[in-house]
């Protein structure tokens, strides 16, 4: 079950989960690139120092080493910011990890516009880059509960994985009975006239938008798609068939990410519901706070509500979404 916002938050769910799984798995090695505390792997470094290696600011080399370690029988987690983990060393990931299908888990923090650091730090096309690589599993989790479940799941999954993680205070959207699966998307709210398909940080926004819309008579469902590749096409098509109007929401470029994946699935099946792809509209952003950037670049609850309202053919003014002022230590979507 999912909770209601504002959400409680957790600190370092990835770092805790990695230490937990690595304690019982001597094959797990952790690589870093001078962002140890920021990627929660300070916990690993402190707990299992013999299996932690800091490659410094040298991501291409780190990926190559990860591949070599995996060939020697280790399971490697390499964590840094998403921009540096993917676009900086794309050829290395392709040749040293994806092509040989090695047991390397690339973990990219600060997805999309969650970084205040501007285009140099905003991973807006990491999912597109990683989806395009054969053998790569691509995951964008929504909350701390999914993170805690995803880490042991990818540790057990043979082969390369890209895991996209929010940095800092991580909302707890799902209760412990949540069942993260590498194979299945999850219907969080049953589709009605429309379905919102979301991943990662946009899941909280989609849930909030759906709540507002339903309160105003629009039967809108929510589908959570944490695994962008391999895509759970069956669940997506089923939800879309039930709805007729489909809105994808991703904290990523609309080119190559969730929206593209859903469009490909729909086109391939012959289904042609009305499709709106929300996300970063093929542009680089700028430095700024999450509230400012998510509002400005179309990643807000309000924007989802407006687009859904319009897509459903409603001509009256869209409802105003709930104000979700989050107190310190809690999280609410923008």
């Amino acid at each position: 079950m999912h909770r209601d916002p504002p959400y409680e938050t957790a600190l370092k769910p990835f770092g805790r989960a990695l230490v937990e799984v690595a304690r019982g798995r001597p094959d797990i090695v952790c690589l870093g690139a001078d962002l140890t505390r920021q990627t929660e792997t300070d916990l690993f470094r402190e707990t299992i120092p013999a299996r932690f290696f800091n490659a410094g600011m040298a991501e291409a080399n780190a990926i190559g080493i990860a591949g070599g370690l995996a060939r020697a029988g280790h399971t490697v987690f390499f964590a840094t910011f998403g921009v540096f983990a993917t676009r900086r060393c794309l050829d290395q990931i392709a040749m040293a990890v994806a092509y040989p299908a090695l047991n390397v888990k690339v973990v990219g923090f600060m997805p999309g516009l969650s970084s205040p650091g501007g285009p140099s730090h905003q991973a807006i096309e990491d999912v597109a880059l990683m989806r395009a690589l054969p053998n790569m599993t691509v995951i964008d989790v929504a909350d701390a509960t999914e993170t805690l479940q995803a880490v042991p799941a990818i540790a057990d999954h043979p082969g390369p994985v890209y895991l996209r993680l929010k940095r800092g205070e991580i909302p707890i959207i799902f209760d412990d009975d949540h069942d993260f699966s590498l194979a299945r998307a999850q219907v969080l709210v049953a589709p009605g006239d429309a379905v919102l398909i979301a991943s990662g940080m946009m899941v909280a926004a989609a849930l909030a938008a759906a709540r507002t819309l339903r309160r105003h008579g629009a039967e809108v469902g929510v589908l959570n798609v944490p695994v962008l590749k391999p895509l759970d096409t069956a669940t997506i098509l089923e939800a879309c068939a039930a709805a007729g109007t489909v809105i994808t929401a991703e904290n990523h470029s609309v080119i190559g990410g969730l929206g593209s994946a859903v469009a490909e699935a729909l086109a391939g099946s012959g289904a042609s519901p009305r499709l709106v792809r929300l996300g970063i509209q093929d542009r680089f952003a700028e430095p700024g706070s999450r509230a400012y950037l998510f509002s400005r670049y179309g990643l807000s609850v309000r924007r989802i509500v407006e687009e859904a309202w319009r897509a459903l053919g409603r001509t009256d003014p869209p409802p105003v979404s709930d104000e979700l002022d989050a107190a310190d230590g809690t999280y609410a979507p923008v």
Binding site: V29, A50, R51, F53, A55, G56, A58, A60, N61, A62, I63, G64, I65, A66, G67, G68, L69, A70, R71, A72, G73, H74, D91, Q92, M95, A96, Y99, P100
Partner: protein, 271 residues
């Protein structure tokens, strides 16, 4: 062949060149200069230094695969029959080695990546407490890739004494002599400055290569052996104007090379 004599390894080097000539002749063009350049290094590695089934071998520039195939076939690691299909569609032995290539711990076609992978292997073996050494073969043109120097720093920082690099320094890259593209010298000083154990030898001198490998194995630091070589293998038949990186092998050149190499083989056999 741990007890190989210098003469036997010289013969092996010549057979590697002849095998490579046979393979490249199939299509009449290809990566023959790589084998002419590196034949002694492959002879020493595969005929003497590598403990097969234990030590790791990383072929960073996959364009040298022809030299590896020849050496591996000569020492019995590869079925000689496979050489006859080298570089043809669907063949096991591809012109640029890939993940399908048998007998290699790691190979790359995208240059500059092999040393990082070799470090991963060496680090992994050290973590697992395994008695293996990792030998990485690199070419000098690759040193233009920044990743090589990221790797150089990491290996020195972690004192990976189990890692030895043989660098085929033939001074040649696709666009011509390296000195006309982007100077990489002084290569030895650069690796010394990166805290590696560095030796610089005549890459066509079997004894010098063997001694260098032995010295490298005794070193607590990662070791760089700079093998100064000629991409024409010091053979008279290859014109100095030929593109050693991707040699066009017409019938005249093929015949001349074969005669010259056979004469060398006979002279070695007679000595």
């Amino acid at each position: 062949m741990p007890d190989s004599t210098t003469a036997q390894l010289r013969e092996l080097a010549t057979r590697i060149r002849l095998d490579a000539l046979d393979m490249v002749s199939i299509q009449g063009f290809g990566y023959l200069g790589q084998a002419l350049s590196a034949a002694e290094q492959f002879a020493v590695l595969f005929g003497d230094v590598l403990r097969h089934g234990r030590d790791r071998f990383v072929l960073s520039p996959g364009h040298y695969a022809v030299a590896f195939y020849a050496a591996a076939a000569e020492v019995g690691l590869l079925d000689r029959g496979a050489l006859a299909a080298y570089g043809t569609d669907g063949a096991l032995l591809e012109a640029i080695s890939t993940e399908r290539t048998p007998g290699l711990d790691l190979t790359c076609g995208s240059l500059g990546q092999g040393l990082s992978g070799a470090i991963g292997l060496a680090l992994g073996d050290r973590l697992a407490g395994e008695d293996r050494r990792t030998y990485a073969f690199l070419s000098d043109g690759e040193l233009e890739e920044g990743q090589v120097w990221e790797a150089a720093m990491f290996a020195a920082h972690h004192a990976l004494g189990g890692l030895t690099v043989l660098l085929d320094a033939n001074g040649s890259q696709v666009d011509g002599p390296i000195t006309t593209v982007t100077t990489i010298e002084p290569v030895a000083d650069k690796w010394r400055a990166f805290s590696w154990h560095v030796q610089e030898v005549d890459g066509h001198d079997i004894d010098a290569l063997r001694d260098a490998c032995a010295a490298a194995a005794a070193e607590p630091r990662p070791s760089m052996i700079i093998a100064r070589t000629d991409i024409r293998g010091r053979l008279q038949s290859v014109p100095s104007t030929a593109d050693g990186h991707f040699l066009k092998l017409d019938a005249d050149l093929e015949r001349a090379l074969r005669i010259e190499l056979q004469e060398i083989a006979e002279a070695l056999g007679a000595s």
